[in-house]
């Protein structure tokens, strides 16, 4: 099956809802695994590859670790796809951009209700937080954007089948809308 497309997926600062929506293709998963080979993905690690045709990224970039993973994906994927509101524009987590990071940390670890041993976690094992949550296109070049929070299962389905059949992926209007 030479023409299977090889797909990797990951979640940065996302909620995993986009991945869940991909699983919402339900029984079509049986067809999908005929069309697609998953590399790094929560669904399967059936095939070893470092070079992928498509990388799907869910979630924005909020710490140094995210930057690292995103660059790695860009390097290894021919086509990089920003999936969902968080990857496209930071999504809900980017609301924290309107506040000082310090205040967010204080709220959670110092001023919270019922906190003992109040302190801001600071271990060298913890990656550096960025002061802003960034959409992924601010860090790497992105080829496609699948909008929605999350994009529906049909969006994923249309996107994959278009690509596989050699068409430029095109999402009909009904599939591209928010709530």
């Amino acid at each position: 099956m030479a023409d299977k497309i090889r797909v990797a997926t990951t979640s940065l600062a996302g909620c995993f809802g986009c991945h869940m929506s991909l699983l919402d293709i339900d029984e079509r998963m049986l067809q999908l695994v005929d069309l697609v080979e998953f590399d790094r993905s929560p669904i399967t690690d059936i095939e070893h590859c470092t070079n992928c045709d498509i990388g799907l990224i869910e979630g924005g970039v909020c710490n140094s670790e995210n930057v690292h993973v995103l660059r790695e994906f860009r390097k290894n994927c021919k086509i990089l796809v920003a999936v969902g509101a968080c990857a496209i524009n930071g999504g809900l987590p980017a609301i924290r951009n309107y506040m000082a990071l310090e205040d967010c940390l204080k709220e959670a670890y110092i001023d919270g209700i019922g906190i003992e041993n109040a302190q801001i976690p600071s271990d060298p094992e913890l990656p550096l937080l960025l002061d802003q949550v960034h959409p992924i296109h601010e860090v790497v070049k992105v080829d496609y954007f699948l909008p929605g929070c999350p994009p529906s299962a049909d969006v994923f389905w249309t996107f994959f089948t278009d690509l596989l059949e050699g068409r430029q992926p095109k999402l009909p209007y009904e599939l591209v809308h928010y709530d």
Partner: protein, 498 residues
């Protein structure tokens, strides 16, 4: 217990081994181990390395946005966050649970049973069944749902369809499978139509049968791997969760009950609005995840576990017959008041999935479910606390608002946080019992992953990606010199050496 491994007495001259990423709990987590010259484990920690700051950034928003916003905490159990927030904002409009219209209460329960069913099915079939069916040390190429679908097509497809059914229940009630919007302050925003009800009724018998089959499967797996399954990553702990006033298993609304490792009651029927008298959270410098504990027992002794194992252990009975029969068998297997086996989380989880399927049927056949009396309001209050049993355990949402209905304070204790000490203890147990004194091997990695995964940690899907992600272990001496390196690629291929 293994708490002595949390912090090594002397860190000088210890070798540091990192498993990174172990998992994505709020993004990413990792395990670090410190070993002495004979590879004896001196310290083992599960670090949660991501921070998103929800508690702060939802401040300044009007409270009615909360049920929609907070479900973006998690795409796997969005409904649980949605409903916990809704229960909290009910109080802001002066509605206590008993004043909610019966139809709204039942629709929310239906929604939540759909949520727990789909989440439990997802965790078992899509994420854990490969380990359980093929073995922890089987070929990694096989450890995924695709291989399950290939080798056990019937089981795999039933799993996919069980999850699908839960998602469809959610869609019928809330409009969308993920991040729908059903609950509002004081009730629900949409009635269930007869057509939607009938659509869900069509498959419900089949779903119950498959759910029952899944319990049979997990029992068989557990029993055919004794005593390993009873002992692996097993720790004796306190347990906490909601129960109904009559002591029955409860997932949506009840009083808090905690029992100790012997099954003795620590507290019972506690009003969850008093939660902050009973639970405090300790912060530690090395992880973004806090460590909740029962104040009655203090920081050292008061840690507890939540989730399916805690709930099935804690309740006196389950009020649906098939799940109750399974509970009795489960308790009998444990042989003592409480079942402490960490891998028994899977077993308990599927008993709950069966309970959800049975309960969905009962609710669909309840005349109230089609009622359009959906929303009540009372007198404004300034504080609201909502608690629910999310798939992974007790979930607390606590909000305060000002005169303009703007959120001024928020406190969230998410389920996985309550299992923080439990997960760390299980990791330390595995490190001490299976790793200490050994050289680095791939099964070692798997054991750590399997232990964490049993808890089904949530938020950004948590450890669900464990085993599918490349892992790297580095052996570094105290001077930071790299001594050895083991890389597990995403296909499971291992690469050792520098």
């Amino acid at each position: 217990m293994y708490e002595h491994l949390e912090t090594a007495e002397q860190t000088e001259n210890l070798k540091r081994v990192v498993v990174d990423p172990v998992s994505r709990v709020e993004g990413h987590g990792k395990v670090t181990l410190l070993l002495d010259d004979d590879n004896r484990v001196k310290q083992a920690r599960l670090h949660i390395v991501e921070f998103r700051g929800f508690e702060k950034f939802i401040q300044g928003r009007p409270y009615w946005e909360l049920p929609v916003m907070v479900q973006r905490l998690c795409g796997i159990c969005p409904v649980s966050h949605h409903l916990a927030a809704a229960k909290a904002i009910d109080q802001l409009v002066g509605i206590d649970p008993e004043n909610l219209p019966p139809a709204a209460d039942k629709l929310r329960r239906l929604l939540h049973f759909g949520q727990v069913l789909q989440s439990h099915a997802l965790h078992f079939f899509h994420l854990s069944s490969p380990d359980l069916l093929f073995g922890f040390d089987s070929d990694i190429a096989k450890r995924n749902i695709v291989a399950v679908l290939a080798e056990y097509p019937e089981i795999g497809l039933q799993g996919v369809k069980l999850r699908k059914y839960g998602q469809e229940v959610i869609r019928m009630v809330s409009g969308k499978r993920i991040h729908g919007s059903g609950a509002i302050a004081g009730g629900m925003n949409k009635a269930l139509t007869k057509q939607e009800r009938d659509y869900l009724l069509t498959d419900v018998e089949q779903i119950i049968e498959w759910a029952q089959g899944s319990v049979t499967l997990v029992k068989k797996v557990h029993r055919s791997n004794l005593p390993y399954y009873d002992e692996f990553a097993t720790i004796r702990s306190n347990y906490m969760g909601l129960t109904k006033p009559n002591g029955a298993l409860e997932l949506y609304h009840g009083g808090l009950r905690a029992k100790n490792e012997q099954g003795e009651t620590i507290f019972d029927h506690v009003d969850y609005c008093q939660y902050n008298q009973h639970i405090h959270e300790e912060v530690k410098s090395w992880t973004y995840m806090k460590f909740p504990y029962l104040t009655a027992l203090g920081k050292e002794q008061g840690w507890y576990r939540v989730g399916p194992l805690a709930r099935v252990n804690n309740c006196d009975f389950i009020d649906t017959p098939l799940a109750e029969a399974e509970r009795l068998e489960f308790k009998q297997h444990g042989g003592e008041a409480m079942v402490h086996s960490t891998l028994a989380f899977h077993w308990a989880r599927l008993i709950e999935a069966l309970h959800c399927a049975e309960s969905i049927k009962t609710l669909l056949n309840d005349a109230d479910i089609l009622s359009s009396d959906l929303c009540h309001q009372g007198e404004k209050r300034y504080e609201g606390i909502g608690v629910i049993e999310a798939p992974r355990g007790t979930l607390f949402h606590h909000y305060q608002v000002d005169d303009n209905d703007i959120v001024t304070k928020a406190n969230l204790i998410v389920s996985t946080t309550s299992n923080n000490t439990g997960m760390n203890e299980s990791v330390r147990q595995v490190a001490a019992e299976y790793l200490s004194g050994q050289t680095l091997t791939e099964p070692l990695l798997n054991n750590l992953e399997v232990a964490i995964r049993a808890y089904d940690p949530c938020l950004s899907c948590a450890t669900h990606a464990v085993g599918k992600m490349p892992l790297q272990l580095e052996l570094v001496d105290a001077q930071g010199q790299l001594l050895d390196r083991l890389v597990k690629h995403s296909d499971g291929e291992l690469e050792q050496g520098l």
